[in-house]
């Protein structure tokens, strides 16, 4: 059974159908990419999955259990956590304190939470920055901080909203390895990303959204050569090339 099973997910904003009868699934241990042009509804999907928005229709099963009417913090504690595309560090907390929030939400045990924090900081390479404040770090590190905060909640499914865009080339070069290391810890990953080269390289499977609908799904190479995808995502000029 899939870790995440989405069926008929629909969300309208007024007359606009942001997500339209979307079906997709994520299996344990996968890295799945959610791609599509701007405004395709990708971030809306994340918000629907994590309880920040309520779907108008459809349902979400996480680990076999429905998530309907759960609030974001409850969904996080079930084991699905998201990051935000517009980074959301806690500005007046140190990096360690930032990461501590999620760890303490998971457990009241101070020793255990400290070990969650240490592990997340270590994995993201932020250990030596632990006592700094977010505004002292470059944007690339803040992206890693977002992930460290999420990982400290001990998720089973990590939803990453554009984790790669904005990284420097040297940061980006190691990012694929980083995801593999997270996966090795037993965390399944679903990510939104615009940078196709990166998505192709790291994702086992890709789901393509366009105008809120799924237009393709499958292995990276198959999706990349799908004419509908090329037309929607890369623009008309690329079709057939």
């Amino acid at each position: 059974m899939s870790l995440l099973q989405v069926t008929g997910l629909t969300r309208r904003f007024g007359g606009l159908v942001a997500v339209n009868r979307l079906d997709f699934a994520v299996d344990s241990g996968e890295i799945v990419g959610l791609i599509g042009p701007n405004g395709a509804g990708k971030t809306t999907v994340f918000s629907l999955l994590t309880g920040f928005l309520r779907p108008d229709d459809g349902h979400v099963l996480f680990d076999g259990a429905p998530l309907r009417s759960l609030s974001p913090h409850q969904i996080c504690l079930r084991g699905m956590v998201r990051t935000f595309q517009n980074l959301k560090p806690f500005p007046r907390l140190t990096i360690r304190e930032n990461v501590m929030v999620g760890a303490l939400a998971r457990t009241a045990d101070r020793k255990l939470s400290a070990s969650y924090v240490a592990e997340a900081l270590e994995l993201m390479g932020l250990t030596d920055k632990a006592n700094r404040l977010p505004n002292e770090l470059p944007i690339g590190h803040l992206k890693l901080l977002e992930m460290a905060k999420a990982l400290a909640t001990q998720p089973r499914l990590l939803l990453l909203d554009e984790p790669y865009a904005g990284l420097t080339p040297s940061e980006g070069a190691h990012f694929g390895d980083l995801l593999q290391r997270i996966r090795k810890k037993g965390v399944t990953i679903c990510l939104i990303e615009h940078v196709m080269r990166f998505v192709m390289a790291v994702c086992d499977r890709i789901v393509v959204l366009h105008h809120g609908e799924k237009i393709a799904e499958g292995q990276a190479t198959a999706v990349a050569s799908d004419p509908a995808v090329i037309k929607a995502y890369l623009g008309k000029g690329h079709a057939g090339s």
């Binding site: 609030s71 913090h73 959301k88 560090p89 929030v101 999620g102 939470s113 404040l133 905060k149 909640t153």
Partner: protein, 318 residues
């Protein structure tokens, strides 16, 4: 270690103070300082740590005052017991306010508190068969001398300090800070933001109501304008901001400065008092916006580098 020694020294001083100082006015002043330290601290847990600004805490203050006073007048219950009934009542009163407004993002809570306090005041004003309406309530029972009152408010304030300290040092402290900094991010990380805010409002209301009961017993007279007045809500905010919002010591330091000052100016000229007082607040906001405690901390830790420095610059912007 030095901090502990300082705390013990302060505690000893506060305990022996009324034995050394016999001047009634100074004792009165100390009582009011302690009372406002208590109120500011309670407000600060919600406003400073959690970032939920209330303009209506007078509602809880007045509810404490009226509950304990009515229990004394109707049933002969000592206000030192009745105050806990009042505090629980204020806590219960805070729950619907919290549940209704904390689900919404934005300034809804702050605005609702204004209306809420006014609604409660109007109800108390008009329910004259119970509350005596605008005539207020007189306490004719002898409740003891000023020294006794001093020790009671000292005990209440110390209890509040200990509770607030326990709150902000526990994992709640992280949750409250996270909610203040970015509520969505906190929720996403598993922090039950709405529930935390409701709980903190309830704790805050509880302690403010204790202060209200104390005030009524101390003044021996209350009416709706005295204990539900917006000035009470404002004063809690002022002592907190002057002392240092979001710090444990801040409200006490602020009360130590603001309360004598406002009493002093009131003595000079009751008419000019609000004007001078207002000017003083404006000067404060202009030159020391982060509050005394944060400024002193910054001066003490300056040599250690940029981290503290920047931290305070950010905190100055709330």
């Amino acid at each position: 270690m030095r901090k502990l020694a300082l705390a013990i020294l302060a505690a000893v001083f506060l305990v022996v103070y009324p034995l050394l100082v016999h001047n009634r006015f100074f004792l009165h002043l100390s009582i009011m300082v302690l009372l406002y330290a208590l109120l500011g601290m309670s407000w600060n847990l919600l406003g400073g740590y959690t970032g939920q600004i209330s303009f209506g805490h007078a509602a809880f203050f007045g509810t404490g005052a009226y509950t304990s006073t009515l229990l004394l007048l109707r049933f002969g219950l000592s206000p030192w017991l009745g105050m806990f009934v009042g505090a629980v009542l204020a806590l219960l009163l805070s729950l619907p306010l919290g549940w209704l407004t904390f689900r919404l993002r934005g300034p809804y809570f702050a605005l609702s508190t204004l209306a809420f306090a006014e609604i409660v005041r109007v109800i108390v004003y008009n329910w004259d068969t119970l509350t005596g309406g605008g005539d207020g309530l007189n306490i004719l029972t002898d409740l003891g001398g000023v020294v006794r009152f001093y020790y009671i408010i000292l005990a209440l304030t110390v209890a509040a300090v200990l509770v607030m300290r326990a709150c902000v040092r526990s994992r709640w402290g992280y949750f409250l800070n996270a909610i203040r900094e970015d509520e969505d991010a906190a929720e996403a990380l598993g922090v039950p933001a709405t529930r935390m805010k409701v709980i903190v409002l309830a704790v805050s209301a509880f302690f403010v109501a204790l202060g209200g009961s104390f005030f009524a017993a101390y003044q021996l007279y209350i009416n709706p304008d005295l204990v539900y007045e917006s000035q009470i809500s404002i004063q809690m905010i002022v002592v907190t901001i002057v002392g240092g919002i979001g710090t444990l010591e801040g409200p006490a330091v602020g009360a130590l400065i603001i309360v004598p000052l406002s009493e002093y100016f009131r003595g000079i000229s009751p008419v000019a008092n609000p004007l001078i007082y207002g000017l003083f607040i404006v000067m404060f906001m202009l030159f020391l916006p982060e509050g005394i405690v944060s400024r002193v901390r910054r001066l003490l830790t300056r040599p250690t580098g940029a981290v503290v420095e920047e931290r305070d610059q950010v905190s100055a912007h709330i």
